[in-house]
Symmetry: C2
Subunit: 236 residues, 2 copies
């Protein structure tokens, strides 16, 4: 099993990557069938994990009372964080819709349990954060799978982890990594909302790629790919 | 643009997810063409990022002198970590091949720069680690894209971050997140190496999914999906 992807299969992966959006609005009331939900959870569960520790858990939430508690934490954190910036940025920030907690039919908290298969986990003895990293890879799998199913996903990070732990009754050692809102949407935006709003621009690929060491963009051993990425090809 | 994936395109995404492996051996000497390399880097660059901060950089490495320094760090860390476990696990651990630093044609360090577009980054004011999480999503995009191109990738986390910072001349504030080995392979294993070796089993999906709160596996509002995931469907 090596290069066994058809062109259309390859296209499917790249299409998921380029058309995936962080969705805060456009959720419809259509519910997600259990078999689709199981399928995207299984995709998440097949993420890479350090030492095969599979340190993730997925807490599915649809109770409105829970959603409202989380939304309350969001409002508090958004208000608090808005004081960190000056006008006119503050008003612009406050005007953004940054979550879809109540509107999305399913909320999902993805957590990290460092004790799973521990304490000795292969590959986690030098960089303990590697366990967290595995959970993030699971989130990205889930996000891409949801996208191919036509399901929007929004990651809400303007939340207090203490509030999440209390509301979801997480043990002390378990870390909430991602709070996600899922649901069918009537539209996936062409571009990220913050790009469209002029908040920040998409960086050029050439500005994030270095050669052999930090900030080296001119290494002559790599000049062919340097020229290639300067043309800013659109692979989408 | 909503449910616009063909069955084959969907299949491509799931196939990438289920056939992706953490590759430590099987690398061939075939070099990776620049256009393929640019394509998978661009896929990584289109990961989600908190507040659209795009806080990643990609350092491509092919100089053997650099690879040897990194390999040296790996050997030191593996030896050190082996002292954390007792026999017979220690010998088994030491027998595993856990990196392909020298054999893979391209090494790639993916880094996190918290100062990019900072200090105020939308969504990073309550959970500062959200910046790290974005970089991990980029790694997973890259991994899946590489898989569809027939390129193996191995994430080496038995390394000293201090060594990585010194060798790659990273500034103090930049965090190495992932050190990756890339190259064509003559085989992708059917299962994770650590599963095949009997080190750890694959968990059942039903054992990582909870309902409404931590460790609730019996919530009657979710009994349909509970039954479904107990059958341990193979979506691969």
């Amino acid at each position: 099993m090596t290069e066994d992807f058809t062109e259309e299969e390859k296209k499917g992966l790249y299409k998921a990557i380029y058309s995936r959006r962080d969705v805060r609005s456009h959720f419809t009331s259509r519910s997600i069938d259990d078999d689709i939900l199981a399928r995207i959870l299984n995709a998440a569960h097949h993420a890479p994990s350090v030492g095969f520790s599979q340190p993730w858990n997925f807490i599915l939430i649809k109770e409105m009372i829970t959603k409202k508690k989380i939304k309350n934490s969001f409002e508090q954190e958004k208000s608090r964080s808005s004081k960190l910036i000056e006008e006119p940025k503050r008003s612009k920030y406050l005007s953004f819709k940054l979550e879809g907690i109540l509107e999305s039919p399913i909320n999902l908290c993805v957590t990290y349990d460092p004790t799973k298969f521990g304490p000795f986990v292969i590959g986690r003895t030098s960089i303990p954060e590697a366990g967290l990293y595995s959970v993030c890879c699971a989130v990205q799998n889930l996000w891409l799978a949801a996208r191919t199913e036509g399901i929007g996903l929004g990651w809400v990070s303007i939340l207090s982890n203490d509030a999440l732990k209390e509301v979801l009754e997480l043990p002390e050692h378990v870390v909430p990594i991602a709070y996600l809102c899922l649901g069918y949407v009537d539209e996936f935006a062409q571009k990220p909302d913050l790009e469209t709003a002029g908040w920040l621009p998409r960086l050029d690929l050439k500005d994030v790629v270095y050669f052999e060491k930090w900030q080296d963009t001119e290494n002559t051993e790599w000049n062919q790919i340097q020229e290639m990425i300067k043309t800013n090809l659109d692979y989408a």
